[in-house]
Symmetry: C2
Subunit: 435 residues, 2 copies
């Protein structure tokens, strides 16, 4: 087999065999395929696409390029969740302790964010002392004792995916459905998931801008998962405006805490309940969404969700007092409000731009390894469809300097549009697709 022939075949719209994809990924893993050939192949895949069979074979090959985490000794059936990412998406911080409190063990490998705001790990690390670097032994102990742990991705799981992803990032070959789907599914399955809830975001602040695109991605991931013997459910959720109110690492932890107490923003609370319900159903702890929701609301109202959160934070060496005293979290020196210049209905809150502003404040990173500021960010006071008075605060800005506040205000004034006519707010959830 020669790589140039595989590139030519994909360029001409042909389909790769299972053997060819195994050979290719094996070559990638052993550094035997030069980056320039891989880059040309990735662009050809982006152009010509892949059949479901090819995408499944690619996923399997990526999984086999490394180890598969096996936690079945302490968690007989593992349900994982994955979000395709968005602005203000702190879902894992709520859903993980929530379902763990309901008796469903959670072992999650999370990433650090690139662009926009931080990833789940960055948010957790804004909690003083929180440790995301655990050995497999430590992880096993935590899951056995507390039923929950979230750690960083290790290079041993689906390592060929890491190589592909690094190259896709610099060759403009990220937006390919089969490449996205195989990357996500290989990492989830390699980290030991028996079932997966996919939280696929749709809109301006998400990778998939239309419901159709998001649905196509969700369905492909469901078929790949099914093909590899996993149960998969996809939730299509809105990302035209930020999810919840807080955008920024420590600010999102604060919002997660209030959501676990039952006082979270309506859209974000609903989003967490839907994702957690689907996890309980996959884990056979409930047989209908209504029953699952009932269990979860009960856990929240009894304070068990917040208790599990505090227990988990402490178990990973974080300062669990933040569950009661959010003031212990890092706090930005300058806090200021952007006020509504006129009265009117909020007709748009551009999630993408809000994410970029939070990133510019220091909440995100542009390059791997860059430092993320835990304290800075935004707290949105308004949602699409809401009526605001002139002078009413639209956004609270948490920044390092007055200069940064000024810049953020300028950009946010354009990101939030006000109009004379009321508009319909976008739904929180577009659809739930069960595989």
């Amino acid at each position: 087999m020669r790589m140039v022939d595989l590139i030519a075949a994909k360029r001409d719209g042909d389909t790769h065999s299972t053997k060819e994809l195994e050979w290719l990924i094996d070559g990638v893993q052993r550094d035997q395929v030069p980056d320039y050939q891989l880059a040309a192949w990735l662009m050809a895949v982006l152009w010509r696409g892949m059949s479901e069979r090819e995408a499944t074979d690619l996923t399997r090959a990526l999984i086999r390029s490394g180890q598969v985490l096996d936690m079945h000794s302490v968690a007989p059936f593992l349900v994982d969740k994955h979000s395709t990412g968005g602005v203000g998406d702190k879902t894992s911080l709520v859903v993980a302790p929530l379902v763990a409190a309901a008796g469903l063990p959670v072992v999650k490998m999370s990433g650090r964010g690139l662009g926009y705001t931080g990833g789940t790990l960055d948010k957790l690390e804004s909690i003083p002392g929180f440790n995301v670097s655990l050995t497999v032994q430590e992880l096993t102990l935590l899951v056995r004792k507390h039923g929950i742990a979230i750690i960083g991705q290790t290079a041993e799981l689906a390592p060929a995916d890491g190589k592909l992803y690094a190259l896709r990032d610099v060759t403009a070959t990220v937006p390919s459905l089969p490449l996205i789907a195989s990357s996500i599914m290989s990492k989830k399955i390699a980290s030991g998931a028996d079932a997966i809830v996919l939280d696929v975001k749709v809109g301006r602040g998400a990778f998939m801008e239309t419901v159709e695109q998001a649905k196509a991605l969700a369905e492909l991931m469901i078929r790949i998962g099914t093909g590899l013997g996993k149960q998969v459910t996809a939730v299509l959720a809105d990302m035209n405006q930020p999810l919840g109110c807080a955008v920024g690492n420590a600010l999102e932890v604060v919002e997660a805490v209030s959501t676990l107490q039952g006082h979270g923003p309506a859209d974000f609370s609903e989003h967490c309940l839907v994702v957690a319900s689907e996890m309980l159903m996959l884990g056979r702890l409930a047989d209908t969404p209504d029953k699952a929701r009932h269990i979860l609301l009960d856990i929240i109202s009894r304070g068990q969700a917040l208790d599990k959160f505090a227990e988990w934070i402490a178990a990973q060496q974080g300062d669990a007092r933040i569950a009661e005293q959010p003031g212990l979290l890092p706090r930005a020196p300058v806090i200021a409000d952007l006020e509504a210049p006129v009265a009117g209905y909020v007709t748009g809150v551009d999630a993408r731009e809000v994410g970029l502003v939070a990133g510019a404040l220091g909440a995100g990173r542009e390059r791997k390894g860059q430092h993320v500021d835990p304290a800075v960010g935004l707290v949105m006071h308004v949602k699409i469809g809401q009526l605001v008075r002139q002078g009413e605060p639209l956004v609270q800005i948490h920044a390092r300097s007055q200069e940064a506040v000024r810049e953020a205000k300028q950009r946010l004034a354009d990101a939030i549009t006000l109009g004379a006519e009321s508009v319909q707010p976008p739904p929180t959830i577009y659809a739930v697709i069960r595989g």
Copy 2:
């Protein structure tokens, strides 16, 4: 400017600005664009294409990446020719001395062949002593004295094209019209051509398999040339069956000699006359094709074409006696005929397969730097449309061993098809397009 943004723009079907293409090629030349980004960009160009303006800008940038040879002190107006390559294509060996004998100076930079059979340089080097490595000073002297010289391509001319080409070869991004056109035109213009005759081959043994494809390539090259102030004429010529009879380095030199004597194969002689006529017209030595042809036939019949050939060979230190005694050229140890298994009409001679068989005998190379056998090859005795008797020789095989003859016979028996019904031979020339 960032390379990843240029890749994304081309991926999305956008058009690059002049500045962007200059920046890109400058980066390639200075090794500042990593190969993996260039490879992804090349595949995106193959997918999305380029506008004429982009292809012209790319060509100009490639030319500017190195030196431009200026021979105007000894040749005020230089007409070059370029063939897109084919099987049995020894046109330059005939056309260069022919038009030089007519008073049109010829300065040609030629390449070595890859795949199939050798390139013009390989064919010339089958002449004992022939030297293709001349300094610019030596070249200038030769052109002043003899009006003709053919040398190897130097790395100083369009060096960025060399880098692009090397990468295209291993990333399956060769077959892109704008990339082919800009590569050819940049090399021709950098080697100092004021006007160019493009010999674009069409058919099974050529890169362009249909007249439509060849026409599209020819027209793009004409527009690029015109855009850069050069006069360009394209000849669309058949390559479904080999051009002439000889396929193989020294064997093609022998056929070139007999063609210069006026005894060449009909199709090849006609092909050379058309290309040479167009060169004379671009060089203003004739104002109609008929007048040009008359001049050329006169030169051939007076023996001046062969004389100029011998003068040229001697000037480049080759053994000029081969013009009278072809037996002085390298000769293969085993010569055998493939005979017609049945009587019938020749319905097909697969040029591609004939080229591959000649390559397998040793006449071509698969990798850069590989040795080419000057002696081996094939002499085709038949052309499409011809009636043959059973046992009549179809091909003469010149090989290193009996084993090689056996293998060649097997493949050639399939490459030459005989039928009961007469078929129309393909035309030698499909069209002449004058820019």
